[in-house]
């Protein structure tokens, strides 16, 4: 059982300052030009105080809330992959020297990151990326370097959005591991505080620089009630029992044609998904022809080029590309990394321009596979995450 503590809301700023004193660049949710993004926070006032979010398939709204919570906004498009696996990275530069090329490697990133406000689903996504980038046969040194130096302050959700389904996967709304500190924001009966949990030694050290005290049993219960309520409010469910075998057996399921009629192959789902990791390498030459660069940038399996080899694309049809995304994330991923590729954050549902819901697509595939069998809608199953 982790050590619990309580921080008054007015002292949240001290947490930022303690992190800044340690040399961290504090990153968290913030509003920029009317959009919810993750950016560097210089003070706690830069958090989206008093704002909340509403999510539905194909819709994301920022709304002004009645209460002045710091963490009323659930995740937008950004996740930790924005920073730990950045969208565009310079891998190396080569300069021509006579008949030779001299390679230069960019220096390691500057300040280590302290992430303030990481939801349980995104923590689960971080564990997934750890498996992808740092526990396979080959590691990604760029991810490793940033990840090992990162400090994580998790925030437990006290309300769920219209697209969330972390409860059905066991990945939230409560963060259980993988954080240095975890906070639950409690705003009720005139009180505004954070019920906190220490996850690591580094977390305890940072906490030392912040005014805090022991939490009472009532305060702990208040926080737990809110988080439990968030779990209960989720309506979306992803049934994972036997899902891998089912999808492997259903490559010719007629339902793929139906979802292909709606899917634009825009790739928004993959871009906003916190576990998607496909990327391209791009070599370029400057106008003088003396400096070559290789950059790495995000790619999505929805693009036709993704599967291109000399002669043509292996997956020319939208049907095959949607199928690839879904079966990789929910089936092949399990064989590759020993876990599900989905953490139930709901971003793919929210940010899909046509509101495709992968939990519904799974149900439709199952219904189309055996018309006689009852749909498994409404059944809550805790997946093998």
């Amino acid at each position: 059982m982790n050590q619990t503590f309580l921080i008054e809301s007015s002292h949240l700023q001290q947490l930022l300052e303690a992190l800044q004193r340690r040399g961290y660049a504090v990153l968290g949710p913030t509003l920029a030009q009317g959009d919810l993004v993750w950016g560097e926070l210089h003070s706690s006032a830069e958090l989206p105080v008093g704002w909340g979010t509403r999510e539905e398939p194909g819709f994301f709204h920022l709304v002004k809330e009645k209460s002045q919570g710091y963490f009323g906004c659930r995740p937008g498009q950004h996740s930790l992959k924005q920073f730990l696996f950045s969208p565009d990275t310079l891998l190396w530069r080569a300069r021509r020297e006579g008949g030779n090329w001299r390679l230069e490697v960019p220096a390691a990133s500057e300040a280590p990151y302290a992430f303030l406000g990481v939801r349980a689903c995104d923590l689960a996504a971080l564990e997934v990326h750890d498996r992808v980038f740092s526990r396979g046969r080959y590691l990604d040194p760029l991810y490793q370097e940033r990840r090992n130096r990162a400090f994580i302050v998790a925030v437990n959700c006290t309300s769920s959005g219209g697209a969330c389904f972390c409860a059905s996967l066991g990945t939230g709304p409560r963060a259980t591991s993988g954080f240095d500190l975890a906070l639950t924001e409690v705003l009720e009966e005139g009180r505004h505080f954070f019920l906190g949990e220490v996850g690591t030694k580094q977390g305890a050290e940072i906490l030392g620089g912040v005014t805090h005290r022991q939490a009472t049993a009532t305060e702990i219960a208040a926080a737990e009630r809110l988080v439990a309520g968030a779990a209960r409010n989720q309506t979306r469910v992803l049934a994972t029992g036997g899902l891998k075998e089912f999808l492997y057996d259903n490559f010719e399921n007629p339902h793929w044609d139906r979802v292909a009629e709606r899917c634009l192959t825009c790739g928004n789902c993959a871009m906003s998904c916190p576990t998607c990791f496909c990327h391209d390498y791009l070599d370029s030459l400057d106008v003088t022809g003396q400096v070559a660069e290789r950059r790495r940038h995000w790619e999505v399996c929805f693009s036709v080029e993704h599967s291109y080899i000399h002669g043509g694309a292996i997956r020319p049809s939208p049907r095959s590309r949607y199928r690839q995304w879904l079966t990789h994330k929910l089936a092949a991923w399990q064989d590759q990394f020993g876990c599900l590729g989905c953490v139930g954050c709901g971003r793919c549902i929210t940010w899909c321009p046509v509101g495709i819901d992968l939990t519904q697509e799974v149900r439709s595939l199952m219904a189309a596979a055996s018309p006689a069998a009852p749909e498994s809608a409404g059944e809550k199953e805790h997946g093998d995450h």
């Binding site: 046969r137 030459l285 022809g289």
Partner: protein, 290 residues
């Protein structure tokens, strides 16, 4: 649970070799067919003495400023001081590599991937079926088998190409054919009257190959369609699915299973392959649009 995979024969040097290309100098360039060239590369600096690799592995070759492509290593694994790559010019990067002149610098990352089971096949008959450019990735295995000839039972090489002008390593095939201890069958899909050899597809020629199916290891490498029909022919001759090895191909960009491009169902061609025992991939092999 994550699939258990065999460690590749040789791994790239730590950290640096993974993402950063090592510099190699083009020693020679030789034209094989109208659009296919073989480059011999030597290390450009003094810090690399050799590049040990397993037969079937590939390197990622960088044409600086243009691009990087996966190319099988086609040389003799017993000669790691030089890297030999046969490249067909089909895109910007391969065209640039094929236009290299001696002295040009090329970047190399690797070696990556799994190898042909040349050691595991000792004591068995070896049947190698290659088509078109597919002879290049399997040539290191042929070199090994010929060097360790007595370790195997019968050794049969069946090679098919589109036309006589597309035959790869023509003179080497003639030399191998001239040996008394290996049988080499060459066929082309179509030919003009000057061609004295066989005309017909590789699967037809396989009827002439002599091997003890229950004690045979088969290595198959070539275009997907050719491998598909060759595997069927081998299976119908009684070779078991776990003794037929294929070399698969996909868009590979990182060589390390990190960029996601080369997936075929649950396997990454770059690190779980490109050489696979057929029974491991038979559910996915040539599955449409997967």
């Amino acid at each position: 649970m994550a699939l258990e995979v065999e460690k590749p024969a040789c791994q790239p040097p730590e950290a640096n070799g993974r993402l950063l290309p090592q510099l190699f100098r083009v020693e020679s360039r030789r034209r094989e067919t109208a659009d296919t060239f073989t480059l011999t590369l030597a290390p450009a600096g003094s810090d690399i003495q050799g590049w040990p690799f397993g037969a079937g592995q590939f390197n990622m070759l960088t044409a600086f400023g243009i691009g990087e492509v996966p190319i099988s290593i086609s040389g003799d694994p017993a000669e790691p001081r030089r890297l030999i790559h046969t490249i067909r010019a089909v895109g910007a990067a391969t065209r640039t590599l094929c236009r290299s002149a001696p002295g040009d610098i090329i970047g190399v990352r690797g070696p990556f991937g799994t190898s042909w089971p040349v050691t595991e096949a000792e004591g068995r008959d070896l049947v190698i079926v290659a088509g078109g450019l597919g002879l290049a990735p399997v040539r290191p295995a042929i070199y090994h088998a010929l060097a360790q000839r007595s370790a195997y039972g019968s050794v049969e090489l069946i090679y098919g190409a589109r036309t006589p002008r597309d035959i790869l390593y023509y003179h080497e095939l003639e030399r191998w054919r001239g040996r008394f201890d290996v049988r080499v069958h060459v066929t082309v899909d179509s030919a003009s009257a000057e061609w004295r050899g066989r005309v017909g597809v590789v699967t037809k020629v396989m009827a002439q190959a002599r091997f003890d199916a229950s004690h045979t290891t088969a290595l198959v490498c070539g275009p997907g369609m050719m491998m598909r029909f060759t595997v069927q022919e081998l299976l119908s001759r009684g070779v078991s699915a776990d003794q037929i090895f294929v070399s698969l191909e996909r868009n590979m960009q990182c060589g390390m299973g990190l960029c996601g491009h080369c997936q075929l169902g649950p396997v990454f061609i770059c690190k779980d392959g490109p050489v696979f025992p057929y029974n491991r991939v038979k559910d996915w092999f040539e599955k449409r649009e997967v």
